[in-house]
Subunit: 461 residues, 4 copies
């Protein structure tokens, strides 16, 4: 009688089917959640008078010992342990005898596994959140050092306007703040206790679900037992959050891969985060960033997997839902290591400010030229057009825009006077973008203050 | 000079390329957002002293007239209007002359379109939220009528335990509360103003971004201009929310399609939401529900489209991002009509309580049999096994479980006494699942209260 | 010097980065392909005079020993073995000394891993193909037994027209023939040898690529070395084929899950492919089919992963591509076990012909009524309308359609005469759909012949 | 009686539901396929004696007139035309009277729409194939001009080995050959006629399906009518092919976007395929390529839409399937314009051979250095390590690798002699990669021959 069911069955399960059915190879990582949930449930059964205080003690003592066995790696999975719940209950019977058979009273694996998954997810959310905050701390640190490091800002990968490297760092900082925010949303919707839903119709015993929620750290209890056992929104929420974080990382990685090319040369990675080629001795490759970029594939794939899985499933629990675990675990693991590697790669990144400066091109100040005209009363649209003609003239002449002569400028428009020649100053241009969020050192200091303030608010009291 | 750029260009754009590039066929629906944003920007320019009060008046008067033209369908798109921004500025010049050329001072289409999209999304979120609340109101109404309508609850699509139709209705209610909650999260992250980011580096004029945010109904301003123009998280957030709502609807639809089969016969759809067959005269098909289920495909596809689109894009704005619009518009439209159709179909659904009752099968009370043994002190796991043997015996005999004789019961276990024969009462079973969230009429009344309370809190003050 | 690179590196790789970078935990399954490819390459090097015949012997002897070590589980992975290629070359050096360092001459891991992956995929394709053919054999066998087993055919899940269970079985047969066909396409495009592409620019040695292809069982050699190392179409092709096969299985599973409900009762699964409930003793759940349906999620997710991964990758090899392996392996494994389980479940499926027959409803012959009118010269569209009125009348009366009286029929149209009463014969209706592909026993015999013929053609000579 | 059904219905369809249900807004583009199919079906009915020759004449005459009306834009869609089939049959009745009602005899919209979609897809496949061949012709033409244009080949976006621009062009050529090949597979599986399947059970009339297939250009007839109406593999096949082609284009676009940056400067786009900035006058953006890259999002999204749609659908036709059309049409349209734009952009691309040459760096010949040692008998792995040390030394010295002195070389290994100084010749290095598929001019000529040969074989006889 090792299975949790079977009274009505006469035939044996096919061996291959057993392998197909068994989830222990992957749901074993729910052991901590499963045992924690069972201890709380033993308390609830005692409180409701379903088991005696003595019986509850036997149950929790046994469960704590099983917890210790898992902690130390001593727990031995048996061939008939189809899932973590079966394994724990089987071991409990070995340790404490028949009282083990009382633990499942009123409970089903349907509400049990939903509870386990939520406990696991809540823990993972906290962990990922901390890794994101650490990565963001690194970005602030890097930005703080580079408030005055000028570099080209790009749109369409074309040089657009001068910005600072600090500005670039902080762009990703704010993207990650949204990921942290999404993780908080995930946590809020995950912290709803399904335990007490039974198989689907609700627990028939007078158990105190609110007390269970309190003991297990859930903020609320689910309000509908059918929904309680069939809701996997919290998995989809977290997989989406992981996928979008992965997209952010893919963009950061893309930038750094480009910036570390010989052609850009803005940054170089530490040997600790690079690899070589088995054929080409000179190669030093930004593997960390390429892998980080590539991981967006599996993160997106896992999201797609859960959505496809859930599509069209009838109420309530269907075995299909066992397939919710592996994508969730994989996305958590993927993001876990990716965030740590990206943090490390950023912390050891070398910035080549000279190459950045050398990539600034006077034509990147064409907007400043137009703005100069605007200050003289020319409507912006006209000013834009006149500045564009200056760009065309400099290209035609094959000279940088700041080498155009006063005659050249006057040939374009009489609005131009000698002041135009003073426009071509990158530092001035940077300083002029001084609105909140702009690239000027003052605005950047303001932005860094806001960022530190946000980060401070995220830290646990 | 109808294009917003071109001073540096000598060649003409290829005609096919123009068609490929032009977004006016789909971004025209941003007209209201675009004009509203431009009016606010005109105010900001005046406040900053960039345009005179008179010029600002000319700009806003012109913009209001253009708004009126769009409202009445009188606006005439011209071949060179590559996007909504160009169309509006072109028309503004026709109406107000050269002052139109001042409106774009310090502003780029990059921050403009991001602002437009956010305004549009905020409006759509509110709209979808209202439709969801309406659907939920219908579900409460249906549930209220069916607190005592017993039906089989299913797990694995096998009859599991008796529940009520109210219970089923409310399971979807709570799923939709999570969708509403997600929409709120979307709104919070969308209500961040990018205007003032310029092309990427920040606006060089002393414009008051906070005032702009207030005028346009944004709660915050973006803190980094690079992120301001390149962030499309709000699109991904909304597309995910639409996709998951679509998955919920696909499950609701699946249930109702099954329940409306001849075999189940639990519900039937009004002719108003059914169609016939071009070949088979007798057919009445649940097309509304099938389409609703099928729409989950495009909603998921649109989410995947935006994630694929954003993957690996370098900072900051890239033209790829123009592709963010059609999936967003399509998901909003899809969910708009789907929610309304599903609401209508539910409001006119006929419930066949007799068929539901007839589908209740004594074996669905096997858990109650086990619980009866538990009350006599048998550990649940043993009780489960004994009850399973009774199921097997009844199947072997080819009789319903409640027709087993006392001898039959005793042959299984001496624990069984005459009381066992009273266990087979569906209403009692339902009433016994009385925990919060359970299927009992009392628990359902409690649940409906909680639901009405939640709904009340969602309504605008 | 255990790494295949490193001369130019001074720093050590970060430990976490090493874990992130190392692919040995999953690419170890390429060992057979990798060693086979290396043996062939040793031959090629000898033939080209790059190594002596003696050296080639040393290389191949060592490689064969390593192969034996893997076969017997004796191979010992070392911490510095970053991937399967490194592991094999490291072991080869241990066994044969410095000559091992010659094996990689002109070869890069870029063309090596592409070759390994293709060898692995070709093998997997053959394996999956055989499993599909076995499943199809089971479907033919089931169909052969049920040429006369009448059941309702459904459209929109509404009873539409009588068909046979054989017809249903064979519908899936033909779907799987397309999957087999797609696998053949995959094989054709996979059997293109990249070896000789070097890192990207081509092998500088006069190796005979055509001979290599012949030895390794490739039909062609790649024509462009850049494409050779960066093409992962064969992975995407196979993942798509697996995903679509998974969709077919999800539909088959959905049907069988529905047919095994108490409400339909058309089939029941063997205990060998069912499970019970931990709470509800009476439950017998179609877990095999639910898992099979749910697996479509990960199969689709894996396809999405590879597409997202490849999107926007520059030429040629990028480390991102290391992420091509796990989704491929997972889809192959998933389909492997799923096909075998589904085959087993079908082979042990019990068909309940009585329940199928009982579900036939006279209204399903409404089309036959219309066809009867057509034979009397009534245009089909009119006949369809008149038959629809008869359906409405029978519903209104609450009697089956075949119980309408002659007066009833005449009240609808004078076209009806006594012959109408003979129309209500399910077997006749089935026999009348006699076109190729139709449900009549004759057409089914023809279809089975065609199926067996197709199957025969697939078998290796 | 404008609907094709309705005899049994008493209530009217809800107006919103009608909008939800109606497919005419998008399936109108099936008009040509629909009418062509109907003409063939009229012939089949006549041949089978179901309609007289006269009636068939009336039907085909009417259908041809409707075809003419669509061709000239004169066809007028009526509010009750729920789909293209209804519209055509309604108009046929207006033109030819009651005989129109005979056209649908034995046919259902289920087999009709499947036939229409396949006809449409076959046409689209041919069209896309021609566009791909045109693009490939452009690539050959570009390659032919640049057999001797040296440029850096990249792996991991790091300079790896010198290649030629021709080599780069042809890498994409071969990727597109696989897309063409996949299109052929699509065509083969699409050219299977479902007409004759009826609603699901097969046509009850003695129509000649093979003759129908011949008339309509199908190679085969479907063998199972259930599968005939429920198979949408051909849509999935085509959407996958479009998605993967889109991924190829995204990679081509990525390369060209990078190569057109100021930092690389390898290519520049014609003004005809570029746009400017509304704010920054100097900008010239590679919009064509960015849009082409971004379109991979919707192409992938459409594939995911169809897979999600089909997942778990029961046999046979379900209304969900109406959702197969829009993603198919969108992917076809997207690829149509994208292929033409990319062809145009390539045809007008300017190549900057000087910048390419300037980007060649002596360290890219480090592999050649190792090969030089190999020729002297040093095992490759050792040679690789020694060459890596030379790279490290040159970096340490801050001098290019070819500026190392003989003392430097000897300090690394006594194997180096004066010949080493001759290794640093890019043209020689390129010429040495002379295996089939390699970058040498000879191998490239061979490759171009193979490409032209392939292209020639694709052309219709």
């Amino acid at each position: 009688m090792t299975k949790l069911w079977g009274g009505r069955f006469s035939g044996e399960m096919d061996a291959l089917m057993a392998q197909y059915n068994n989830s222990i190879p992957f749901d074993i990582r729910l052991w901590d959640a499963d045992i924690t949930g069972s201890i709380a449930y033993a308390h609830a059964l005692a409180k409701a008078g379903i088991v005696t205080v003595d019986e509850a003690d036997h149950l929790t003592t046994g469960l704590r010992q099983i917890h210790a066995e898992f902690s130390t790696g001593a727990f031995d999975v048996k061939p008939d342990d189809e899932d973590i719940h079966t394994a724990v209950e089987r071991r409990l019977r070995e340790l404490q005898g028949d009282v083990a058979g009382k633990l499942h009273t009123g409970r089903s694996r349907n509400d049990q596994v939903a509870t386990d998954m939520r406990l696991y997810a809540l823990d993972a959310i906290l962990h990922l959140r901390n890794l994101l905050l650490e990565l963001e701390t690194n970005l602030i640190s890097l930005a703080t050092q580079h408030i005055h490091t000028a570099m080209p800002g790009y749109t369409h990968m074309q040089r657009a306007q001068p910005i600072t490297f600090a500005h670039w760092c902080m762009a990703y900082f704010w993207a990650f703040t949204r990921d942290v925010d999404r993780l908080s949303d995930c946590a809020r919707r995950t912290a709803v206790l399904p335990l007490g839903a039974g198989a689907l119709a609700g627990n028939p015993l007078p158990i105190d679900r609110v007390a269970l929620a309190n003991e297990l750290g859930f903020a609320q209890i689910s309000q509908n037992s059918l929904d309680g056992v069939s809701d996997r929104d919290f998995v989809a929420d977290l997989l989406f959050t992981c996928a979008l974080t992965g997209i952010h990382i893919s963009r950061l990685a893309e930038d750094l891969i480009l910036y570390s090319t010989a052609e850009f040369g803005f940054v170089s990675f530490s040997d600790a985060y690079s690899t070589g080629s088995s054929l080409m001795p000179q190669k030093k490759n930004p593997d960390a960033m390429e892998l980080a970029r590539g991981k967006s594939g599996r993160l997106t794939g896992n999201l797609m997997a859960i959505l496809t899985l859930l599509k069209g499933l009838p109420m309530t629990y269907n075995k299909d839902m066992q397939e919710d675990k592996e994508p969730l675990f994989d996305s958590i693991d993927t993001l876990d290591i990716t965030l740590r590697v990206v943090s490390g790669a950023l912390a050891t990144l070398r910035i080549n400010a000279e190459r950045m400066a050398a990539a600034l091109d006077p034509a990147m100040l064409a907007t400043d030229v137009a703005e100069y005209l605007v200050r003289k009363g020319v409507p912006f649209r006209t000013a834009h057009h006149l500045s564009g003609q200056a760009v065309a003239l400099s290209e035609q002449r094959g000279i940088p825009m700041n080498k155009l002569t006063m005659e050249d400028w006057r040939s374009i428009s009489p609005h131009f006077d000698e002041i135009i020649l003073t426009v071509f100053d990158f530092a001035n241009s940077i300083a002029s973008r001084d609105v909140t969020g702009g690239t000027s050192p003052r605005a950047m200091a303001e932005q860094l203050d806001a960022a530190r303030c946000w980060l401070h608010e995220q830290m646990p009291a």
